[in-house]
């Protein structure tokens, strides 16, 4: 009863505190979710317990290390840009068979004269 009789500034202060706590909690939850989403590909690729069980010899562990190194170095990790410009010019050309027949050229194949055999 006494609390209800407090001046209005006490209620305002209480409301601000509740709001601040809510904002902190929401941000924490969102941040955790994003972190999990971006980390998942690395986590899955790097752990794979079944593969560890198979690769038990020194040589195979060496191979696994090489595989991991190549995997880490050869994949772009950027996420798609949120704001992508229009692709209208790409579509206009790449759906126009006549235009493509005029413009498309096979990239020059660079092949050594010393190459021989299949594969």
């Amino acid at each position: 009863m006494r609390l209800a009789l407090k001046p209005s500034w006490v209620w305002i202060l209480l409301a601000v505190c509740v709001l601040a706590v809510s904002v902190v909690v929401v941000q924490w939850v969102q941040g955790d979710t994003l972190l999990a989403a971006t980390a998942e590909p690395h986590t899955v690729a790097a752990s794979a317990p079944a593969a560890e069980a198979v690769l038990d010899s020194t040589t195979q562990q060496h191979t696994l290390a090489a595989v991991r190194a190549l995997a880490e170095n050869s994949t772009g990790d950027e996420l798609p840009a949120a704001d992508v410009p229009s692709s209208d010019n790409c579509i206009a050309c790449h759906t126009n068979q006549t235009l493509l027949q005029e413009l498309a050229v096979e990239p020059e194949k660079v092949e050594s004269e010393l190459a021989a055999g299949e594969g």
């Binding site: 590909p41 899955v44 060496h62 191979t63």
Partner: protein, 368 residues
């Protein structure tokens, strides 16, 4: 494979734009390039033709699990090569080894788009279905484009005088009937023989190999002879003597001797509970101790650890074959077995585990 014109390789089908969800982000989201310009060269500035080379960026946003797993799959990283080369002593911390490997041995590597959108790079690329993204874009272009001479040609009976595989000729089974998505995407195992067989003949032919079967030959040979030894329809392709290097213009090149047809039964070098047989078919693979000699000395110091006549599973299966016509179509037939005389003297040590030293003797003929 028939050649494809340059324009056909880049013509986008309206269906892709109207029906395929993968078109929604817009071309530039995956491929880069410049918006709003009509000039070809300017529009292509910063272009990434093979968007899935950056798999996380292009595909991983939605296909999180598969992309993560496939990052280390045999198709993407050619883990089979890495495993075998490691056993042959390749040290992938040495710059010379990495240079040799990445210059010559990773050409066939496949990213997502190589199987689901385009013809493989080995066929000079190009869209298969106007950029539509397919679970299986085209079995014989996608799979056969890379696994051509040693699988596709056997399966379809391209080799003169040797029938194709009964699973294709009679049943019309595409590769994906036996080989599953998990097999293509699974990551981090070495060669395909380092894990249990992903597909086994007995998965379908269980009744034929039961203990109670009427087939006496199956009863006798089931655990001692790989199915293909009796049921491969004939010879299959072997290759040899691969060398790598760069010419005086700095262009990388590979040389191999002309391929040759072989049918050789060897001892099983990968015997296990799931591959218990004493005998398997073997074929020579394009390798030799000097494979990377251009890049450095002795880069494969333990070459002899792995046979150059490798256990193999030819894809030309038939019920009746020349070698299973009777007992003595195989027993006592020295020519069918890999003996020391078939092996190059410099590779004898590497092939000790597969060379057959005692040919199964001829037997009194019995009813099959």
């Amino acid at each position: 494979m028939p050649p494809v014109e340059a324009w056909q390789k880049v013509l986008v089908d309206e269906k892709f734009l109207t029906e395929d969800v993968h078109s929604q982000p817009g071309c530039i989201a995956c491929h880069g390039g410049v918006s709003g310009v009509d000039d070809k060269d300017k529009a292509h500035e910063g272009l990434l033709p093979k968007a899935s080379a950056q798999a996380n960026r292009a595909c991983g946003g939605c296909h999180v699990g598969i992309v993560a797993e496939a990052r280390t799959s045999p198709h993407r990283l050619q883990t089979g090569y890495l495993a075998v080369m490691s056993e042959r002593g390749a040290d992938f911390t040495m710059p010379e080894t990495v240079k040799a490997y990445t210059t010559h041995c990773t050409k066939c590597h496949a990213d997502c788009g190589d199987c689901h959108i385009s013809r493989p790079s080995a066929l000079d690329g190009g869209l298969i279905a106007g950029h539509q993204v397919k679970r299986v874009a085209s079995v014989f272009v996608t799979c056969g484009g890379c696994h051509s001479a040693r699988i596709n040609d056997e399966y379809k009976g391209v080799h003169e005088g040797i029938p194709g595989d009964v699973h294709w000729e009679k049943a019309g089974m595409p590769c994906t009937k036996c080989h599953t998505m998990e097999e293509f995407h699974d990551g981090q195992h070495g060669t395909r023989y380092d894990t249990e067989p992903s597909v086994d003949c007995v998965d379908c032919h269980q009744e034929d190999v039961q203990i109670t079967t009427d087939n006496r030959q199956h009863m006798i040979h089931m655990d001692s002879v790989q199915c293909q030894v009796c049921h491969a329809a004939g010879e299959y392709k072997s290759c040899s003597n691969c060398h790598t290097g760069k010419d005086d213009k700095g262009i990388a090149y590979t040389t191999t001797d002309p391929s040759f047809m072989t049918f050789k039964i060897g001892r099983n070098p990968i015997q296990s509970d799931t591959r218990p047989w004493n005998y398997v078919l073997v074929r020579h693979v394009p390798t030799n101790p000097d494979l990377w000699a251009f890049y450095g000395d002795n880069l494969l110091p333990t070459f002899d650890n792995v046979p150059s006549w490798k256990a193999t599973t030819p894809h030309n299966m038939q019920k009746i074959t020349p070698q299973n016509a009777s007992c003595n179509s195989c027993h006592g037939q020295t020519d069918l077995f890999l003996t020391a005389d078939d092996v190059d003297p410099s590779e004898l040590e590497a092939n000790r585990s597969v060379i057959v030293t005692r040919i199964p003797p001829a037997r009194p003929e019995v009813e099959p």
